[in-house]
C-alpha cells in the first residue's frame, strides 16, 4: 500500500507512466508533435527576436521596403498543409484502433451516476469506484449513465470515453503494467464531479482470478439477465415454443438484422437497448410490431444484465 501511495504522489514527470497497450502509441505521437511544434514555435520566436534586435530603430542596418514574395507565401501555405495531412493520418489511424475491440476482450459493465462508478464483472462480482483487471488481457467496458453525462478517464492508459444516459458507449484497453492508477470522471457532472474518482488496479492474472472468486457469491451477470428474461416475460414471446411470432435471439449480438423499412443494421448493445425500450424504432422484417416497451420497468443495470445474457449466446 505504501509504495502505491509513493507512486500516486510521484514527483514531477511530464508523461505519466504509460500502462496500456495504446499508451505508447499516444506518447509517441505526443513526443513527435512536441518536437515538431516546439521547433516551429522556437523558430518563429527566434526569428522575431533576431529581427527585433537587428532592425531596431537606430541600429545601422540596411532597411527597405519588402515587395511581394509569392514563392514564400505559397511555401508556407503548402508545407504546413503537407505536415498537417501527415499528422491527421497518423492520429486518425491510432484513433480508429481505439474503437476496434478484440473479440476476446473481457467485458466489464459500468454504470455511472452522480457521483460514483458502479462496475460489474462477468461473474457478477461488483465493485464501486474501483476496477480490478488482469495484466495483459484486453478488457472491454460497456458503459452507460443513469443521469448526466460522465466520462471514464484513466490518464495512465491515455484513454477517455464519455458515458451517456440512454445509450451504451464502449472503451477497451490492454493493461501492460501492474499497479494502481487514477480513475477520474472527466466530464463535468454536477456538484461532486471532482469526487467522482477512483482507481484501476492491474493485477497478475492469477491474483485477478483469486480476487474475482473471493467476493460474495452472486449470480453472474448473464444468470441475472436470464432470470430477468423470464421474470419480465421476454421468454414468453422469444422462447422457442412460444405462440407469439417473435424472432429468436440466439447469437443476436454481432449479427446483421434486416429491418422492416429496408435498412440493415448490425445488432450491438445499443440495438438491444433500443429494442427493449423503444421496440417501435427498429422493427425486424417479417414480424409484427407487438413487442411492448419496457421503459420505466428496467434499470440501467437490468438492461446491462439482459445484454450480458443475450451476449452469452445461450438465449433462445
Amino acid at each position: 500500500m505504501n509504495d502505491t501511495d509513493a507512486r500516486l504522489s510521484a514527483t514531477f514527470r511530464l508523461l505519466q507512466q504509460s500502462a496500456s497497450s495504446i499508451a505508447d502509441r499516444t506518447d509517441l505521437l505526443f513526443t513527435g508533435m512536441l518536437l515538431l511544434t516546439g521547433a516551429i514555435a522556437l523558430a518563429i520566436c527566434a526569428t522575431i527576436v533576431v529581427f527585433c534586435i537587428r532592425y531596431r530603430q537606430g541600429a545601422r542596418v540596411e532597411r527597405g521596403l519588402v515587395g511581394r514574395k509569392l514563392g514564400l507565401e505559397v511555401g508556407w501555405t503548402l508545407v504546413p498543409l503537407a505536415l498537417f495531412i501527415g499528422l491527421f493520418v497518423w492520429a486518425g489511424h491510432d484513433f480508429v484502433r481505439l474503437y476496434q475491440a478484440p473479440e476476446d476482450a473481457l467485458p466489464v459493465y459500468v454504470v455511472a451516476k452522480q457521483w460514483m462508478w458502479k462496475l460489474q464483472h462477468r461473474n457478477g462480482r461488483r465493485e464501486i469506484n474501483e476496477l480490478h483487471v488482469p495484466l495483459g488481457q484486453p478488457v472491454r467496458l460497456v458503459m452507460s449513465s443513469q443521469d448526466a453525462i460522465h466520462s471514464f478517464y484513466v490518464p495512465a492508459f491515455r484513454l477517455k470515453q464519455d458515458v451517456l444516459p440512454g445509450r451504451f458507449t464502449g472503451l477497451w484497453f490492454t493493461p501492460t503494467q501492474l499497479g494502481e492508477f487514477h480513475l477520474f470522471c472527466a466530464e463535468y457532472c454536477g456538484t461532486e464531479h471532482s469526487r467522482m474518482i477512483g482507481r484501476v488496479v492491474v493485477m497478475t492474472p492469477a491474483d485477478y482470478a483469486r480476487w474475482l472468486a473471493s467476493g460474495p457469491q452472486e449470480p453472474s451477470l448473464a444468470q441475472y439477465g436470464f432470470a430477468l428474461f423470464r421474470q419480465l416475460g421476454c421468454s414468453g414471446c422469444h422462447a422457442a415454443g412460444s405462440t407469439v411470432h417473435a424472432p429468436s435471439l440466439a447469437g443476436l449480438l454481432g449479427r446483421q438484422v434486416h429491418l422492416q423499412d429496408g435498412r440493415t443494421v448490425v445488432a450491438d448493445e445499443n440495438y438491444v437497448r433500443d429494442s427493449i425500450l423503444l421496440p417501435r424504432k427498429d422493427v425486424v422484417a417479417g414480424f409484427a410490431p407487438v413487442m411492448p416497451s419496457f421503459a420505466g420497468q428496467v434499470s440501467e443495470e437490468d438492461i446491462q444484465a439482459l445484454v450480458a445474457y443475450l451476449r452469452a449466446g445461450a438465449a433462445p
Partner: protein
C-alpha cells in the same frame, strides 16, 4: 438612415436593401437551428414524428399557405405600383390587403392552436399521443410556428405602418424602404413554405 445627408459622399454601390438581406441571412439561421433539431428528432423517432404529423390540421395548413402566397403576390404588386407614378395610389391599398391577409393567416393559425389545445396536443403531462417522439414533434411544431407567427406580426405591423405613411404622403416612405419591407414579407412567406411540408405533409402518404 443618415445616408441622405452624408457630407462625405461615399461608395454607394451596394443596394439599399443590403441591411435587410443581412438581417434575413441571420433570421434563416434562427429557423435553421430549429430545423436541425427537427431533422435530428425525425431521424431518431421516425414513427413518433410520423404519427404526430398526422394530427396536424392539414386543410387549415394548406389554406394558410394559400393565404400567405396571395399576400406575397399583393406585396409584390404594391412594390411594382410604387415604382410607377401612375399607379402610386394603389400601393397603399395593396399594402392594406397584404396586412389583412396576414391577419387572416394569424386568425386561422389561432383557430388551429385552439383545436390543438382541445385535442391535448400541447406538450405537457396531459399530452394525448403515446408514441415516443410525438411530444418532441409538437414542441418543435409550436416553437417553429410560434416563431413564424411572431415574425408575421412584425411584418404586419411594418406593412401597416407603411400603408398609412404612404396614404399620408410621408417622405420617408419611399420605394427603396418599401423594397426592404417587401423583402421581409417574402422571407416570412418562404419560411412558411419550408415549415408547411415538414410539419403537415411529411407522413401523409403513409
Amino acid at each position: 438612415m443618415n445616408t441622405a445627408a452624408h457630407p462625405l459622399g461615399g461608395d454607394r454601390t451596394a443596394p439599399r436593401t443590403l441591411g435587410m438581406w443581412v438581417f434575413i441571412a441571420s433570421e434563416l439561421l434562427f429557423f435553421g437551428a430549429l430545423l436541425a433539431a427537427y431533422l435530428a428528432g425525425r431521424l431518431h423517432w421516425p414513427h413518433g414524428f410520423g404519427a404526430a404529423s398526422r394530427h396536424t390540421h392539414v386543410v387549415l395548413g394548406t389554406l394558410n399557405t394559400a393565404v400567405l402566397l396571395t399576400s406575397s403576390a399583393l406585396v409584390a404588386l404594391a412594390v411594382a405600383c410604387a415604382r410607377h407614378h401612375a399607379h402610386r395610389r394603389w400601393t397603399a391599398r395593396l399594402l392594406w390587403g397584404t396586412a389583412s391577409l396576414g391577419l387572416v393567416f394569424l386568425a386561422i393559425k389561432g383557430g388551429e392552436y385552439a383545436m390543438e389545445w382541445r385535442e391535448h396536443l400541447f406538450p405537457g403531462p396531459a399530452f394525448a399521443l403515446r408514441e415516443p417522439g410525438a411530444q418532441l414533434f409538437f414542441m418543435l411544431y409550436f416553437f417553429m410556428t410560434g416563431l413564424h407567427a411572431v415574425h408575421l406580426v412584425c411584418g404586419i405591423a411594418a406593412v401597416a405602418v407603411f400603408a398609412r405613411a404612404i396614404g399620408a404622403r410621408r417622405a420617408w416612405a419611399d420605394a427603396e424602404r418599401l423594397d426592404a419591407v417587401a423583402l421581409y414579407w417574402h422571407f416570412v412567406d418562404v419560411v412558411w413554405i419550408f415549415l408547411y411540408p415538414f410539419l403537415y405533409l411529411v407522413e401523409r402518404h403513409a
